[in-house]
Amino acid sequence: MIPSIPELALMRGLRPDPGNNRGCAIERRGAPERMSRPPARGLLAPMPASNPVLVRNRILSTLAKTEYRRLRPGLEQVALQENEVLYAPGDVVRYIYFPDDAVVSLLFDVDGHRTVEVAMEGNEGAVGLAIYLAGVNSCNLSIVRDPGTAMRMEVNVLTKCANQRGRLQDLLRRYVHALVTQVAQAGVCNRFHSIEARLARWLLMTQDRVGSHELRATQESIARMLGVRRSSVTAAAGRFHEQHMIDYCRGRIEILDQRRLRAASCSCYGIIKRQYDSFLN
């Protein structure tokens, strides 16, 4: 039974914003800072609008300067910590996150005791947007897999901005469509393709989002994400290592030969990448 938004608000001691009929903008009584779980560790102070911030998020950097300037006062740069939960089932979306180099995993809970990654969202993304469309998050867990920075914006401010002239609304819709493609394509990929091909796809997709050859991931965590046994990941990673395509040690994986890794991956990587590249054009 999914509680209604007012019930949910009551359960959490929250107050729905009466001005928003989807009840998505919710404030915590007395402590307006943040609504998802861990207290905001390492939050950078919001930067003054005049201060240039290097924005690597592809949605924000695709916007025209004038439109970005209009958004800027509502954007706040934050540091996202590893394993920080941005949205858990039952949460109401207050912020949309535009990651620069952080990567967020969209996990689905299975049988109440394990989770599987159904998508990753990074510098091309707007984390929380798909959940926001639904009003309240009923099924998925958005968790920071690779720490880094992101710009975030309150949903009601974002909605206002998206309703003004400009490309934002269109880009956000296109983003959700690309996300749908990622979930579905990765879904069939995991069904049909070898662990090696899937691991290669996963590494390349992560690299695209982190923007670095060096990834933070253990074989354990990759196995969890791909929903396979750890030993299978070890074997596949071992083969890539032998062929000097990757190097790894203690929770770090370095991509040495992207071209050959791409050849080892399945067509799903290209299909998903094209969908993401085209939504920004």
Partner: protein, 257 residues
């Protein structure tokens, strides 16, 4: 107008003429929106196996199924494919049109013959751009579809063929107005992306236990509660999310409403 054979038992004998209201999205639209769309809405038969669009096709229409069920299939380079989403009277085929992705790498194939309403892109886009109720409903529907695809991905990976078969039968049954599905085990195997033998074994068990009956291309659901007790949680997750988002029971006109 109905030139294509239905080839489908998915329509009750006392079949009434199709009304836009048989599609949940169209039914949920306020009267003024429906009146604006009405002149452009055209009822079309969708025959079993018909391809609505191929991967990367530019679409000319969006389809709102009433009695037809459409599979969203994602394909691999070697030609194998799996169904990641199913659209019936609860939804719309062609989200790329309004989400702005232009084209999409999936194909849409009619899984159960029946009818749909289709709408040409121009009037559809005009209404969508008004940012009214159609806009709001379609974004909610997109989220429901995203949940369905995510859950399907998880289910395909982790659950038994029998559980997946139960999920697939129940999702289809929700979208049909009859207990009869026109469907071969071969086709189900293709949808689920598993071997045919796996589907045969699972279907045989369900038949032995009196939950379904099958014969040459027909599957009859005999014991729906029985199927519900055997299915994995994925079915309920998808159904609840869809119901919650669209806030109307699925198949309001059907026998299992």
């Amino acid at each position: 107008m109905r030139t294509t054979p239905r080839g489908n038992g998915g329509v009750s004998p006392e079949h009434k003429p199709d009304l836009p209201a048989q599609n949940r999205l169209l039914a949920a639209l306020p009267a003024d929106v429906r009146e604006r769309l009405q002149p452009d809405l055209e009822s079309v038969p969708l025959a079993l196996g018909a391809v609505i669009y191929e991967a990367h096709d530019a679409l000319s229409y969006v389809y709102f199924p009433t009695t037809a069920i459409v599979s969203l299939l994602y394909t691999m380079e070697n030609g194998s494919s799996a169904e990641m989403g199913v659209v019936g009277c609860d939804g719309v085929v062609g989200i790329a049109v309004f989400m702005g992705g232009d084209t999409t790498p999936n194909r849409a194939v009619v899984q159960s013959g029946g009818d749909a309403f289709r709408l040409p892109l121009k009037p559809f886009r005009e209404e969508f751009r008004r940012s009214g109720e159609l806009h709001r409903l379609l974004l909610l529907y997109t989220q429901a579809l995203l949940t369905q695809m995510s859950q399907t991905a998880v289910c395909n990976r982790l659950h038994s063929v029998e559980q997946q078969l139960c999920r697939w039968l129940l999702l289809s049954h929700d979208r049909l107005q009859s207990n009869d599905l026109i469907m071969t085990q071969e086709l189900i195997a293709n949808m689920l992306g598993v071997r045919r033998e796996g589907v045969s074994v699972a279907a045989h068990r369900l038949q032995q236990d009196g939950l379904i009956r099958y014969r040459r291309g027909h599957i009859t659901i005999i014991d729906r509660p029985g199927l519900e007790s055997r299915v994995c949680e994925c079915y309920q997750v998808v159904k609840k999310e869809c119901d919650r988002l669209l806030a109307r029971p699925l198949n309001p006109l059907g026998p299992c409403a």
